[in-house]
Symmetry: C2
Subunit: 310 residues, 2 copies
């Protein structure tokens, strides 16, 4: 049995996966703040898999952790996980003594990409586009998470698609993240709310001009990311996830309309049939924790990475 | 000994490569028009390697051909090679009886990408950005040309980076190819000349406003393609080739200035050190023919493709 955890800024999702690849237990806990509390959250979540979900922890053979930060290549060192209060921390070193099994750590978007790929049948090439506070993508080809030369594979959020677009927190103008990231949308909307992007969609429906602009920008940015993933990495399928996708079919409908508009303008774009190649990760999907479990259990994880990326 | 050919719209470049990977002979011939004439050009170029370059053709073990068209996956069928007058043609089937050795066919930009990768030491991940009449890229990771799910990997030319940019021949607005493709620049310049892009650069230096706009657009489009290749596929290095790169350091200086501008605006972009990761293919480089020779000789070519892309 392998355990996978998706350590998010507010909640940690943990799953136990049996030898057949089925999820046999799942728990969610609030995430602690800072390195020690994050490590404790992982230990608590695993304990809860045993006590609350009835998982036999004696059968646990590996732990994989997806985390919203950068992972130093070839290590389990997490850096710049600002939403967790973690600046530089070797999570595997902190956990292995207590757990007694191998621990692997991966960026959460890449873990979710592998989970989405596996939940989707585990063949071909899949891009996972995370529309959360920020925007980033993970690409999985034939079961291998693409990492690229220096760890920036899939950082499509900071590609500018409009020289006159909104200023991004990165400093450039018209980045996909500035258009479609939940953080940028909330900031430009400027009104408090539990889910500002939902307020923006509702206000746009009611005719508010700023909300209509912001909502249109989300679709423009997300559609641009879909086109970039297909025209650069040529993924078969783009799976959308992250907080902004709580808008569900309202969001998907907007993105489909954007993709239809480029297909109408361009026979080449039409030939790509992009609209058929985009789907939403179902609400509450365990993709990130499931992908983390696969990463934790892969005995040849580093080797497989080397085969594709050196 | 392996032979590689780069069949271009006007010239065909052929090289013979010995067992040590050294180019031991090279010839260039005008390319014929239409399927039969293209096949004859290949046969003539190989014969000329023997007669003009002193290559021992009895030692030839394989032929690889790069061609400006689409290759039907898993076959040697060339489609849409419009600059050669070839609509749908199985080049390997036409040549194998006369040559008596295996023949492999690949898209010319992908062949050039593999050649640039090999000439650059054959490690890591390299993107080759072809700024010709059109714009396209090839990506090579650990010796494997990335093809993606449906053959559009590297088609960065039709990514829009400016919703108010010039209309592309594909029908969209602000595509990288509409900004930086030699065909689009020549059309918008609208004056006859042997190398319209050079005229544009010269006229821009002389202060012509249209030329300055066009020249700025070339740098904007090429720099956008560099960023996209790094932020999506995370290539170590982007090698620029194709007709527009005849402008040499004048072009490279413009692109470097664009990359510097985004590095100045954005600490994240600055951390990528993009300017150090871009270089020009030397004028007259045999990269495409050399890459084609490697493709022709790879006994596991299809297998290696499958390992990465299924």
């Amino acid at each position: 049995m392998k355990v996978g955890l998706d350590v998010g800024g507010t909640k940690t999702d943990a799953v136990a996966v049996d030898e057949a690849g089925e999820i046999v237990g799942r728990v969610r806990l609030p995430t602690g703040w800072g390195p020690d509390a994050v490590a404790q959250t992982v230990l608590d979540a695993i304990a809860a898999l045993g006590s609350d979900a009835g998982v036999d922890l004696a059968a646990m053979r590996s732990v994989g952790i997806g985390i919203p930060g950068q992972i130093v290549p070839g290590t389990a060192r997490v850096t710049h996980a600002v939403n967790l209060g973690v600046e530089d921390f070797d999570l595997a070193a902190a956990l292995t003594p207590a757990l007694g099994v191998p621990v692997q750590v991966e960026n959460d978007v890449k873990a979710a990409a592998l989970g989405a790929y596996a939940l989707h049948g585990g063949t071909g090439t899949v891009g996972y586009l995370n529309l959360g506070t920020g925007v980033a993508a993970g690409i999985v080809a034939d079961g291998v998470v693409q990492r690229g030369a220096r760890g920036t594979a899939g950082e499509v959020g900071h590609i500018s698609v409009d020289p006159h677009g909104p200023v991004c927190r990165c400093g450039q103008r018209g980045c996909i993240e500035a258009l479609a990231g939940g953080g940028s949308v909330a900031e430009r909307w400027g009104r408090l709310g539990a889910l500002p992007v939902r307020d923006v969609f509702d206000a746009a429906d009611a005719g508010d001009p700023l909300a209509r602009d912001l909502r249109a920008g989300i679709a423009v940015g997300a559609a641009a990311a879909v086109r970039i993933l297909v025209l650069t990495a040529d993924v078969d399928l783009v799976v959308l996830g992250g907080g902004v996708t709580a808008l569900g079919d309202r969001l998907l409908g907007d993105i489909a309309a954007e993709l239809d508009a480029s297909a109408e303008a361009s026979p080449f774009m039409r030939s790509l049939r992009l609209r058929e190649r985009v789907e939403l990760l179902p609400t509450g999907s365990p993709a990130a924790a499931f992908g983390a479990a696969l990463i934790g259990a892969a005995p040849t994880y580093e080797t497989r990475e080397t085969v594709t990326h050196g």
